[in-house]
Amino acid sequence: MEVIKITGTDDTPNVILDTGKGVFEFSGRSLPEDVISFYGPVLQSIEEYIQSPKEKTEINIKLDYFNTASSKVILDILIYFETIAKQGKEVVVHWYYQEEDEDMEEAGEEYAEIVDVKFKMHTY
């Protein structure tokens, strides 16, 4: 399977979708002009991945800023992965936040409350 890499800009994140390894990464800033057109293809790839997922899936989220429209999409992404966790696959979300960034820490904790997936919190 091919690896999809999207290089980030000042308003869109770096995205790596390595469906062969089961590793997914989002980093940088997310406030795209059109959240639907940016994340649409990403969601589609993830939707395809969860049809035949790896035994272990790792999601790394290291965003230093995302707007509220992106926060909704991040939840949609996590819900996809929750589906395979419920099927007994191992899914871990690594949530990175800057040490003094309480809002980002709290955002991670909230996602962990909403979706039934294992979260590991890390500072950077």
Binding site: E33, V35, N67, A69, V73
Partner: protein
């Protein structure tokens, strides 16, 4: 017709901005490019006097949400090249507080008078909630809401209230039967205990 003395008017605008401690005033089309330009302008300015990271993040966050609300929810919006939206409105950022230590962001845009009651009820609801109530409302809206075609998630105002810990100040001024002018003031208070 009375002749406008533009030279005096410019000076008056200048004085009004200083007197009100407005650092940026803009009236017109709010696009994504403008959102990016204003946020980076403000960030650079805050860097120039070493504003602390937490205040910078909060101001940035509130600015983005306010500007996106204007570009997406203003009544008078346009679709740009089939992608992205621009709405018309006024956007102001200024300093406030006894020693100018705080910030406030003011916006204004036209909304349909028919939509005022719903909007007002939503703002009232947000203002009645405490920290935990806002958190629950945010989570509920994130779970149950869906993105509009304009990419709105209905989360912006809830998030602003959460991040700033201040009540939202707003008003609706009736222009005529069809249109009203909606103003919003958001305060970002230093050392606010949220």
């Amino acid at each position: 017709m009375e002749k406008v003395d533009y030279m005096k008017l410019v000076y008056q605008f200048h004085k009004d901005m200083l007197a009100n401690k407005f650092t940026l005033v803009y009236e017109g089309e709010i696009t994504h490019q403008i959102t990016k330009a204003f946020t980076s302008l403000t960030e650079n300015k805050m860097d120039s006097y070493s504003e602390d990271a937490s205040m910078k993040r909060k101001v940035f966050h509130v600015m983005v949400e306010c500007l996106q609300n204007l570009s997406k929810h203003a009544e008078d919006y346009k679709v740009l090249n089939g992608k992205g939206y621009s709405g018309e409105g006024i956007f102001i950022i200024g300093r406030t507080g006894d020693c100018n230590e705080d910030y406030h962001i003011l916006t204004g845009n036209i909304i349909q008078t028919a939509k005022v009651p719903e909007m007002e009820a939503f703002l009232k609801r947000i203002n009645q909630l405490d920290k935990n109530g806002l958190k629950e409302l945010f989570k509920k809206q994130m779970r149950e809401g869906s993105l509009t075609e304009k990419g709105g998630a209905g989360l912006g105002l809830i998030d602003i209230a959460r991040k700033t810990g201040s009540k939202l100040e707003y008003s609706f001024i009736r222009i005529d039967e069809t249109n009203s002018f909606y103003t919003l003031r958001t305060k970002i208070i230093r050392n606010q205990h949220i």
